[in-house]
């Protein structure tokens, strides 16, 4: 016998019927079967993949070049040291990208003739930097700017690389913010204006808070992407995780350090991706409960 409480908190004696017991027994047995099939299928796939790779004609050499334990041990601490640079770049560029992206998005939604140049510039900026391949952007900024030999302008590849990343990513993030702003129903703005709020106040207190909340999942997605693209600053010679691996590869002609660097990036990205999934799922749940909003 089970004792449950209904909404008013009253205790209610309830014995599951034979029908329910039978139904649940069937559900459990079906679940056990499903688990067993999944385990078997995974095992078979794993074994087949293993055999295909290991029996490939070039496997012994590949194993030596890409999966060498000695080089892996040598590379790991150096790569990790380099990774610290990637993490710092991510944090600083992340903040810069969010701020710049937001400013550009707001500039694009401004009304009124005074703001035409601002609107135009913002639109041109996003069009240009979303279209320009990141690698070319990086080369122009990291290699081109020092070539100008301008007084007082840095030649530090880390700073320049970070600048290039910020330029490209703020264009993406601006579009994410703009989509968020435009997804807020006009009736919300109308309600704010009818209360006497100015256009700016309506944007700040009513539209933006809702837009940002709605755009958290795509924003996190872009940050995950930025996180791995910080590896590209290595093209300017900054010693990040990729460059650290590069140095060892150049000396040893063994590619294992690349594998190590790759895995380290993946390991860094996974928590962020899981966090994104978690936030998205939580927001979906809230929306489902909230109904119309």
């Amino acid at each position: 016998m089970t004792v449950t409480k209904d909404q008013s908190g009253q205790e209610d004696a309830y014995t599951p019927s034979q029908r329910r017991i039978e139904r649940e027994r069937r559900k459990r047995s079906r679940a056990r079967r499903a688990t067993a099939i999944a385990a078997l299928s995974t095992l078979v796939t794993g074994v087949v993949l293993y055999l295909v790779v290991v029996n490939a004609p070039g496997w012994p050499r590949t194993k030596e070049t890409f999966f060498n334990g000695q080089y892996a041990r040598e590379a790991f601490p150096k790569v990790l040291e380099g990774l610290w640079l990637n993490v710092r770049l991510l944090l600083i560029c992340g903040v810069a990208v969010l701020v710049l992206g937001m400013l550009i998005a707001i500039a694009r939604t401004l009304r009124g003739p005074v703001f035409f140049p601002l609107r135009f510039l913002a639109a041109a900026y996003t069009d240009f930097f979303r279209g320009l391949p990141l690698i070319i952007n990086l080369m122009i900024v990291v290699l081109g700017v020092p070539a100008l030999r301008l007084q007082g302008v840095t030649v530090d590849p880390v700073l320049l690389g970070g600048t290039a990343l910020t330029l490209t990513y703020s264009a993406y993030v601006a579009e994410v913010f703009r989509a968020g702003i435009e997804s807020i129903h006009p009736s919300q703005r109308a309600a704010a204006r009818s209360l006497g709020l100015s256009n700016r106040q309506a944007l700040r207190h009513v539209v933006l808070p809702q837009a940002v909340r709605r755009q958290v999942p795509p924003l996190l997605n872009d940050l995950v992407s930025l996180q791995k693209d910080t590896g590209l600053v290595s093209i300017g010679g900054a010693i990040d995780a990729v460059r650290a691996a590069d140095i060892i590869v150049g000396r040893s002609l063994n590619y294992t350090p690349y594998i190590v660097a790759g895995l380290v990036f993946v390991a860094l990205t996974i928590p962020m991706t899981r966090f994104t999934d978690w936030v998205t799922a939580r927001m979906d749940r809230q929306r489902a409960q909230g109904g119309t909003t």
Binding site: S187, A191, R193, L195, G196, L197, H205, G291
Partner: protein, 250 residues
Amino acid sequence: MSDAPVLRMESVRKTFGDSVVLRDVDLEVAPHTVTALIGASGSGKSTLLRCANLLEEIDDGAIWLDDEEITDPRVDQDAVRRRIGVVFQAYNLFPHMTVLENITLAPRRVHGVARAEAEEHARELLERLGLGGKAGEYPDRLSGGQQQRVAIVRALAVRPRLLLLDEITAALDPELVGEVLAVVRGLKDEGMTMVLATHEMGFARDVADQVCFLDGGVVLERGTAEQVFGDPQQERTQRFLRRIVEAGRL
């Protein structure tokens, strides 16, 4: 204050592309009176209210609020809207703010009222409308009737000169309509000047001092509730009211 009308419209014309939504509309709303706009969907009731609040720009004619021409391009529109409260059919509460934040936003940000004072006034109004326990709730936790009453409190919190109510019961379940209409009746007793677009004919007859029947963007017939509902002169008004009666809505 004198008997000068709170709201006056003269020859107002409004078009959306090729369709003329309001043509030559005249309207006068005296202080402490209730004006009901009735008519079929698409007759221009909502547009008239949106024009009065400058949410829509009129094509021709003029609108005065307390003897100030608010359709003058030099007028500060935000200042005009501060004196007019609006309640919408779909409530339009801000979903990311609690009830209390919804209500105190305009008093604090627009009218510069201190937080404590704004919250006290808001709680007072909530209490009066039977929403005393709901200050900390988010709008999506409330029923439609409760949300609409919060929207009314939000409009009242800035002590408006005029309240515009746009089909405020149209989105509500039938059993929730009564609680909202009771609030409007209470406001009338307190002397609030209101213009309401409504499909609730029984309510319009009860509460309105002036009834305007809109048809195709024209005020086809106007008068006291007794005149318009009891002895309509225009054939189209008669037909409209007959349909309402047949539908059991009057």
